[in-house]
Amino acid sequence: MFLAWKEIVRNKGRFSLVVIMMVLISYLVYFLMGLAYGLASSYTNGITKWGADGIVLTKDANDNAMMSLVTDTSFGEISAETKARFGLLPVVAKESEDNKTNVYLLGQESGTFLWDSLPDITLGTYDVIADSSLVKAGYEVGSSVSIVGFDEPLVIKAFVEKATYQTVPLLYMDLDTWKEVRFGNTSTPLSSAVALKGSVSSVPDTLKSYTLNEYFNVLPGYGAQVATFTLMISFLIVIASFILGVFIYVLTLQKTSLFGVMKAQGISSGYLAGSVLSQTLMLTLSGSLLGFGLTALSVAFIGGKLPFAYNLWFNLAITGAFTIFSIIGALFSVRAVLKIDPVKAI
């Protein structure tokens, strides 16, 4: 530790170059991670709120909830611990000619677990709970929302954070209200899909059951987007660690004769190898810590304009991956240190 630290302190120039490189790459990685996670959650967070374990659509819907219509009879034939119907409908909320917003109407069967995480307020027939992003579009509690193609204005009773589906804000409403918008009456025995919680024993042949993850992965664009970000992030981590590994390796080779002398003086290979490793760790951790700080700073400045979301575990995983890969890179140097023959020093 002592040796590694002193070398860094006495060679600030060359080591700060490495740290700057680590900072820039880790900044990019943390930032991408936040964006990727934010974007991915804006696809799903409106319905992950439910705490459901699975979704059931009709087979003919081709994985698309918008195209699915589950009959009440089929719903009755689903045997699961807990089940609840819901309806999804993309509509345009029109405030004025210049202020139109795409929203999803999400009609939820009343009295079911779907409502558990939403504010506990009584909703009248045309009342909705809306995603807080609508505040930016000029809506507030008590505002009425005009839906293109539906005569009755809807009234926002409350806002909730992070209530989007496929990046579009949701309006939560009673399933009967939804049916009125969708079918023009409340008696049609159809809903879009069914959310399940707990164990599922069987679903009728005309329906298809998905776990929540399976369902998200068939959302258009979701899987491809997650895969793209994952690939970019993992490659960046490996590349950064590799560059750091090469740098440390070159420094180690430069110090071959010095390490030879130190070995002659009886300093163990283990101590020298430990010194190389701890130096790698110092550079990696300081680089990624600063990168993380920069990310936090950037988010503070541009927050809200981008779908950015923190996830402590993902950030820890990235830091862990940086650490592990740079240790692997440093192992080449450790091998070089172990091979140095002290006889050569004399």
Binding site: F2, L3, K6, E7, V9, R10, N11, S257, L258, V261, M262, K263, A264, Q265, G266, I267, S268, S269, Y271, P342, V343, A345, I346
Partner: protein, 227 residues
């Protein structure tokens, strides 16, 4: 007087391009505390081989080195390294010092590895005697050649080893500086009761040595023994 370091019939052979080179013929040697020994001889005569074997940097082909009554040349690299660390101080031609540590930190490094407290009193006394007290907080590249070698002596002596091995310690110095370094080595050897074995080309100051050995074609002979 007790033998401090003994080489018993050691030899060293190398295989070089499928040819056996006898770097060191059968050699025996006994060194005592307080003795300042010079080993002279032409280049390639086996001087450095002898030094690296008694320093435990490599094993002899046959024979044994006994340090403070304990055989040690047959131990594995790790144990020899540990014994070097505790019992043997090395002074090299140049570059005995770590470039990014101050003179004082070079000494502290030893304490840190040994996990023992710093011995400020010894640092004070030794650096005073070696004339490097004012240089303790300087980095090696801020020192002149003579100062570097004096700092290297300080570094070698600080852990209080029983044997000091020096490889051409004056090779990079002019006459006045060489004499200074030689005198310091001699004084410390006698004063602290170390055995100092120095390989050198420099025959100008052999008068300072208690004993001079010559190695030629891998054979060691005594040239001069005082006392």
């Amino acid at each position: 007087m007790n033998t401090l370091l003994e080489a018993k019939q050691i030899t060293k052979d190398f295989l070089q391009k499928e040819e056996i080179v006898h770097a060191l013929q059968e050699t025996s040697f006994a060194g005592f505390p307080g003795q300042f020994v010079a080993i002279i001889g032409p280049s390639g005569s086996g001087k450095s081989t002898f030094l690296t074997i008694i320093g435990g940097l490599q094993k002899p082909s046959t024979g044994e080195i006994i340090l403070e009554g304990r055989p040690y040349s047959r131990l594995d690299g790790k144990n020899r390294s540990r014994i070097r660390f505790e019992k043997i101080g090395f002074i090299l031609q140049s570059a005995s010092l770590i470039p990014f540590l101050t003179v004082r930190e070079q000494l502290y490094l030893y304490d840190r590895i040994k996990k023992r407290p710093h011995d400020e009193k010894r640092i004070e006394e030794l650096s005073e005697r070696l004339g490097v007290k004012k240089l303790l907080n300087k980095l090696p590249n801020q020192l002149s050649g003579g100062e570097k070698q004096r700092a290297a002596i300080l570094k070698a002596l600080y852990p209080n080893p029983s044997v000091v091995l020096a490889d051409e310690p004056t090779a990079a110095l002019d006459g006045a500086r060489s004499r200074e370094v030689m005198e310091l080595l001699k004084n410390e050897t006698n004063r602290e009761g170390k055995l100092t074995i120095m390989v050198t080309h420099d025959e100008r100051f052999l008068g300072l040595c208690d004993r001079v050995c010559k190695i030629e074609d891998g054979v060691l002979t005594d040239v001069k023994i005082a006392r």
